[in-house]
């Protein structure tokens, strides 16, 4: 401070001695806009998030995946509003169950519907994917199946995120004996054959839960769904916990954490404010890749008949139901199969894109 003051004073003294006759009014003109523009800082300082997003936007595959996913999500939200059919009930014409409406092809109408349209002149909403063997509109069933599959994936990913985050950060931050014991537990869960345990617990919980949840709000989900979430929560968090622990172990020893500890910051606050934001990239990437893997598992279980309870459906159980009449109605099998592949592919590509964009080690 004192130095600056001194300099200022000196300059002031000097300035009084400057020969003003050397300058004319031109020297004191206001700067033009162009000159001002030159002084402006062009490159805005980027945050970690902005930088990553910029890189992500340059990745055509990832952006394409986002578009595909956004489209799918938009369709499954909007379509049930204007498709007048129900996913669980037979098609009705004029309030009467239409028995001729089963096994229709794409955009076909049943005899009863044709008669109705001829007699009244109004046109009915087309069966875009036809109908299934029970006379239910297949398009709306696919929409609901996609809804179920996607929500299973997202809910599972969030559960894995929460459990893994808490477990991993506690284990990594406290270290020592706590870490040792917590990580041995993770080792054991990690070495369990997950698919077997999932199938087994699905079988058991289905039997045990079925009687318990009868009549409650959970009954709509069905015991299979609940047991599936239960199993995801029980088994799939270990990878997340391991990753977060590894990250925290490195960040824990950095200088800014030491500085925070020196000024007496509490453990919880250090974890929340200093350590976790720096693990964010790993957390985002792993969560993004968790969604397709959960969708995969759900479709397997549904395919084995351990999925959601009828009449609710998922993409896996739609494919399973279509297997019986595969030869006569191949489209019923191909449609859910293609949608599963599309969703998983898009999510995988998005996850890879996020990794390329946000993982600082790769840059």
């Amino acid at each position: 401070m004192s130095n600056e003051n001194l300099e200022l004073k000196k300059r002031q003294i000097l300035s009084s001695q400057v020969d003003l006759s050397k300058f004319n009014s031109k020297n004191f003109e206001k700067a033009t806009d162009e000159e001002k523009a030159q002084q402006e800082v062009m490159g805005e300082s980027t945050t970690f998030f902005k930088d990553g997003m910029r890189r992500l936007k340059k990745n055509p595959l990832a952006m394409g995946s986002i578009v595909v996913l956004a489209l799918i999500i938009a369709i499954i939200i909007i379509a049930p509003i204007f498709v007048p059919y129900s996913y669980s009930d037979m098609i009705t014409v004029n309030g009467v169950r239409d028995k001729s409406a089963s096994n229709l092809g794409m955009f076909e109408y049943s005899n009863a519907e044709m008669k109705y349209m001829e007699s009244t002149g109004e046109s009915l909403f087309p069966h875009i994917f036809g109908t299934d063997s029970l006379g239910r509109d297949y398009f709306i069933r696919v929409i609901y199946g996609t809804r179920v599959s996607l929500s299973v994936g997202i809910v599972a990913a969030i559960m894995v995120l929460i459990i893994g985050l808490i477990y991993g950060s506690v284990s990594g931050y406290f270290g020592g004996k706590v870490d040792m014991i917590m990580m041995r537990i993770v080792d054991i869960i990690y070495s369990l054959p997950d698919m077997l345990i999932i199938i087994l617990l699905s079988v058991v919980l289905k039997e045990v839960l079925a009687s318990k949840i009868k009549g409650t709000a959970l009954a709509a989900l069905g015991p299979n769904m609940i047991s599936m979430f239960f199993v995801f929560g029980l088994l799939y968090w270990v990878t997340m916990a391991r990753l977060i622990r590894g990250q925290i172990l490195t960040i824990k020893n950095s200088e800014y954490v030491l500085a925070a500890r020196c000024i007496g910051t509490k453990d919880g606050r250090i974890l929340r404010r200093h350590i976790l934001p720096n693990c964010l990239s790993v957390i985002i990437i792993t969560t993004a890749l968790q969604v397709p893997s959960a969708i995969f598992t759900e479709s397997y279980l549904s395919f084995l008949g351990l999925g959601v309870s009828a009449p609710l459906t998922s993409l896996g159980s739609l494919a399973n139901d279509a297997r019986g009449a595969m030869q006569s109605y191949p489209s019923r099998l191909v449609i859910p199969a293609v949608i599963i592949c599309l969703i998983v592919l898009a999510l995988n590509l998005l996850g890879d894109g996020l990794r390329d964009a946000f993982d600082s080690k790769l840059n």
Partner: protein
């Protein structure tokens, strides 16, 4: 070294015990016992039956007895067929193992070849083509692939008969089982190959004038295969669980389809036996890979 192996073996035993305990207690938690029929049995007969099969004892005692029997090769009796489970498991496992091992060999060879090609033609069209197909391969559940293959080759083109019990056709099941691991191995080989090609020892070899073929296959590939080895062991788990669906679709009478059938039949003793059997298999496979991994890569520190 020995300490590491000992620790791993201990962990494996604990895992097997935990899986078997989960399986046993979970199965016991299901309401209804094996002798609870719709028709009421005479209470004396019921009690006699229960005491013969030790069902009157506490569950923990039953578990200890069950595990003791397992070690002696007595895996119990199927609730549905009434036959011994163990001979069934071994005969069906032979079928599954044949399928799984063929698929694994197929996947490994093709995967390594494709991965090497992709690494060597990086950013050219063969690489792009391979990347496209591997991305597709990892996004396709095996049951989707299996049903689509069945639909295309058996029902539409009629190249392969749908089902032939005396001489089952293994081509389609092997393809549907191997696509996912193949895609994964290709990706792994590609990345580790690219990594290896940038290493100093490869540059030195190149400077010494080693031929391109020898450089790739002797110097780079050998080191690039380490991640592939670590991937292969746990993949046995995938092959066995994946085969549940594939065996079911192609009606191959392996362990996987037996498991699925026992689930749909609610044959709890068979579910339990198959789960424990597969779990032991997977844990042992993981254990062996871990140990093999430590042996193949001298850089790995045993104390850590």
């Amino acid at each position: 070294m020995l300490k590491y192996i000992g620790k791993r073996v201990l962990l494996a035993i604990v895992s097997i015990l935990i899986v078997s305990a989960i399986t046993f207690f979970a199965m016991n938690a299901i309401p209804g016992g094996p002798f609870n029929k719709e028709k009421a049995t005479d209470p004396a007969v019921q009690a006699e039956l229960e005491s013969r099969y030790n069902l009157d004892k506490p569950v923990t005692t039953q578990y200890v007895l069950y595990m003791g029997n397992l070690i002696h090769g007595d895996w119990g009796v199927s609730l549905k067929s009434g036959r011994e489970i163990w001979p069934d498991i071994t005969s069906k496992f032979a079928v599954s193992a044949k399928l799984g091992i063929s698929a694994m060999i197929f996947a490994t060879i093709i995967g390594i070849v494709l991965g090497s090609i992709a690494a060597l033609t990086r950013n050219k069209w063969p690489d792009r083509l391979i990347v496209f197909f591997t991305t597709l391969g990892t996004a396709m559940p095996s049951f989707v692939l299996a049903t689509l293959l069945l639909l295309l080759f058996c029902l539409e083109l009629k190249w392969i008969p749908v089902y032939n019990s005396s001489n089952p056709n293994y081509i389609l099941p092997i393809i549907s089982l191997s696509v996912y691991p193949m895609a994964y191995i290709t990706r792994l080989t590609k990345t580790s190959m690219l990594d290896a090609l940038n290493q100093d020892y490869v540059r030195t070899a190149k400077a010494k004038g080693v031929s391109r073929v020898k450089l790739i296959f002797v110097h780079a590939l050998r080191n690039a295969l380490i991640p592939v080895i670590t991937y292969l062991g746990p993949q046995i788990a995938y092959i066995l669980t994946g085969s549940m669906v594939v065996e079911n679709i192609f009606t191959i009478g392996g362990l996987g389809s037996a498991f699925v059938t026992s689930i749909t039949n609610r044959d709890y003793t068979t579910i339990m036996a198959v789960t424990i059997f597969l779990a032991i298999l997977m844990v042992v496979a993981n254990l062996l890979t871990d140990i093999a991994y430590k042996f193949t890569d001298p850089r790995i520190d045993f104390n850590n």
